[in-house]
């Protein structure tokens, strides 16, 4: 992964000093609550339901074992022994004390980490494909581009106080695994007809209370110009985005108001002035940044016979390999997903001991590196096939080998009402109740690929709009209810799900999912996935089934009470 140079280190060190002083002035009463709020937010520090929450940046999801051990130490020392992987690949701690935060940031800086711009109305952590650099379908490794964008956006003086938060994602593969269509800027690395490298630029995607799929603003921006082009987009947004209403302040609202052609025209007009300016990238700079990713140099290995023999004889191992192991671009290697979705645990949570244990696995099997995913799991990018069995055994021993990646129980969930001050309803207990209902692995495998995404409020941190099944917590007269959407999808065919009807009480949710699954099983053709069946037969059939079975349940309950 990327190794800091002296300048990267200096900027992070100076940030620690700056924030320590800001915190001191706040505690001394020199900074008001309102003045301190954006400063602490731009350091990832929220005031939450129980305590401050600190969100630590994991640039495009890359972590090394040393960093994981520091996170373990932080979890143990300053938190209640665990941390949480977010849907933007970052890591959150839910229980630090404000007074301790400067010290935590200092510890992070020592392992090339920080919490810069993980919240606030600024350019946030750039996200990308967790399989970047190793995916078999990769066109160009997005990580150096992500790092260049990270550096450009870090303390960008003109864009530190935007109308609202701003998220950028980069995809470099044939299949988009970075959900670029629901980002403020989605960058797709492409080649033009002449074979030159550049970016297809999507703008104005986003979930939240007004979910919108990003639209193409430029079909091809040459790579040399990408920072100039982004600057043009950000300047148009900074000057013209709405600041009178936080709910209408995202760039997607500006793009909708102007229309894509007019927005694109304004960006082009701005870009004309910036093109070929000092921020224009050079081949030497790209190569330099790429060189600072000290990836292992892998040469193809013979396919491992022992691995294949194990697959044939050990059913549990084979099940794990089928769900949690992915092809690698180099023969003899594989990528492994450690599931953070065992039953009964908050999706994406890791204990301090697990952070340490994952560090150990990374050192032993994966060249000391891991990736966090927006699905809230952990990826070991490069593992020798010959090591997979041993890795599986070790991962199982620490509870991270649930063979459910991409299945119904691999639920994406925000922290919800148990932690988050914004939430209307709890998320984690719903995820756990669903996991509990579907605890039969054979049945899960039979159901096949299914993504359930849960958000505790319309801010949509759990990406519910793009879940095959989306669950949204809503408040009805002070009570927690859940609205269900189906037919959403992430990736190249990103689609927003459709609401099936009136919302449900928390206790009904496992039954609702059962009704959806039963309708799918009754209607599916061959090996169709749930989402394909929804596409083919439409939402109506699912809706009818869910509400008919619900009515029957309510009636049965009444009879029982007579």
């Amino acid at each position: 992964m990327y190794q800091y140079d002296e300048y990267d280190q200096r900027i992070v060190d100076e940030r620690v000093a700056q924030f320590a002083d800001q915190t001191r002035r706040y505690l001394a009463g020199e900074l008001t609550e309102d003045e301190f709020r954006p400063l602490r937010l731009q350091n990832g520090l929220y005031i939450q339901r129980h305590a401050p929450m600190l969100r630590i940046a994991v640039p495009y999801g890359n972590l090394n074992s040393k960093q994981l051990r520091t996170l373990a130490h932080i979890a143990r020392t300053y938190d209640r022994g665990y941390g949480h992987i977010t849907t933007r690949q970052n890591i959150q701690f839910n229980w630090p004390r404000l007074e301790d935060v400067p010290e935590i940031l200092d510890l992070l800086a020592k392992v090339q980490m920080h919490a810069i711009q993980t919240s606030g109305n600024c350019i946030r952590n750039v996200t990308s494909d967790p399989f970047a650099g190793v995916a078999a379908d990769e066109i160009v490794d997005p990580r150096p581009w992500c790092e260049i964008l990270r550096q450009w956006s870090t303390f960008h003086p003109e864009f530190a106080f935007l109308p609202r938060k701003f998220k950028i994602a980069v995809n470099g593969a044939k299949e988009d695994r970075a959900v670029i269509r629901v980002h403020d800027i989605g960058l797709d690395i492409v080649h033009n007809a002449a074979g030159e490298l550049g970016f297809r630029v999507l703008v104005g995607g986003g979930l939240g209370r007004t979910p919108i799929i990003g639209e193409e603003v430029a079909a091809f921006v040459p790579w040399q110009q990408i920072l100039n082009y982004c600057e043009a987009i950000l300047r148009v947004y900074n000057l013209h985005g709405r600041r009178d209403n936080a709910y209408k302040a995202r760039i997607k609202i500006l793009v909708k108001a102007l229309g894509v052609p007019e927005f694109a025209r304004q960006v082009e007009e701005e870009f004309a002035h910036l093109k070929d300016g000092p921020s224009t990238l050079t081949q030497a700079e790209i190569e330099r940044v790429a060189s600072r990713f000290n990836d292992p140099v892998l040469s193809a290995l013979a396919q491992d016979a022992g691995y294949r023999a194990r697959l044939a004889e050990d059913k549990a191992f084979a099940a794990w390999a089928r769900r949690n192991v992915r092809d690698h671009r180099v023969q003899g290697y594989a990528s492994v997903v450690l599931s953070l979705k065992p039953y009964g645990v908050a999706p994406g949570d890791l204990t301090a001991d697990q952070f340490d244990a994952v560090a150990e696995l990374a050192d032993r099997y994966a060249f000391g590196e891991v990736r966090s995913t927006h699905e809230q799991n952990i990826v070991l990018a490069s593992v020798r096939e010959a090591d997979l069995f041993a890795l599986w055994q070790d991962a199982r021993a620490i509870g991270l080998a649930t063979p459910n990646i991409g299945l119904l129980t691999d639920i994406i969930s925000c922290p919800g009402g148990d932690f988050c001050a914004l939430a209307n309803a709890k998320s984690i207990p719903i995820a756990n109740a669903i996991q509990d209902r579907f605890d039969n692995l054979d049945y899960l495998f039979d159901i096949g690929e299914l993504e359930i995404n849960i958000s505790g409020c319309m801010n949509a941190c759990g990406h519910h709009h793009v879940g095959h099944v989306g669950i949204l917590g809503v408040d009805k007269n002070g009570e927690e209810f859940y609205q269900v959407t189906i037919g959403g999808e992430q990736g190249n065919q990103t689609t927003l799900g459709k609401v099936i009807g009136p919302s449900f009480a928390a206790a009904e949710m496992p039954d609702v999912i059962t009704s959806l699954i039963n309708n799918f099983i009754d209607n599916r053709q061959d090996d169709e996935r749930f989402i394909d069946t929804v596409r083919r037969i439409g939402v109506e059939s699912f809706k009818t089934r869910v509400y008919a079975e619900r009515a029957a349940r309510l009636e049965a309950k009444e009879i029982a009470h007579v």
């Binding site: 900027i11 100076e14 000057l239 000092p278 921020s279």
Partner: protein, 183 residues
């Protein structure tokens, strides 16, 4: 008189910022004596009358966040001072306005940040081309303002180019590649 920050030091200000109150008319409002910074609307309503004052170095113009700096494109050489108002410190439009004045329009005179100007934004303001920072009167004690000068240099080598240092870090400093070893 409020204190201002200029060239890394605290100075006593000699200018008065004129703001239109409810009912004030740009065309008729009486200008205070001495050096004055008038709203764009006043400048536009009375340009002919005010131009000699600007040229004499005693009148400047301030822009609100929703005002287009190109409105002043023809007056830049006459104006000794342009100010940009920050109605709230978290309203970042002024950073883009300043950047456009400096880079696009080539304005070389005094560029002043006024309004809700706080020390924790000093670094960003300087980078976007402001040459004078004017915190609200009485916001800081003299000692606090002296201490706040430290915030002007929060970061010594920022990554990206901006008005103060147009070249990004990779063009300003030699940054080294990392040499790989085979695994």
């Amino acid at each position: 008189m409020s204190d201002i920050i200029k060239n890394g030091r605290v100075h006593v200000d000699e200018w008065t910022v004129l703001r239109l109150a409810e009912g004030d008319e740009a065309a008729t409002i009486v200008l205070p004596a001495g050096r004055v910074i008038v709203p764009l609307a006043v400048w536009q309503a009375r340009r002919e009358e005010l131009l000699p004052k600007a040229e004499a170095g005693v009148l400047g113009v301030w822009l609100a966040g929703n005002e287009d700096p190109t409105e002043l494109a023809g007056d830049l050489s006459a104006l000794p001072l342009i100010a940009v108002d920050f109605p709230k410190f978290a309203d970042g439009r002024g950073y883009s306005i300043a950047t456009l004045l400096r880079t696009r329009l080539g304005y070389g005179g005094e560029l002043r940040a006024i309004g809700n100007v706080l020390r924790d934004q000093f670094f960003f303001l300087l980078r976007c081309g402001f040459s004078v920072l004017q915190p609200q009167e009485d916001k800081y004690t003299p000692a606090q303002l002296e201490a706040a000068l430290a915030s002007l240099i929060d970061f010594t080598e920022p990554y990206q180019g901006a008005v103060d240092r147009p070249e990004p870090l990779f063009r300003r400093q030699p940054r080294r590649p990392l040499h790989k070893e085979a695994a």
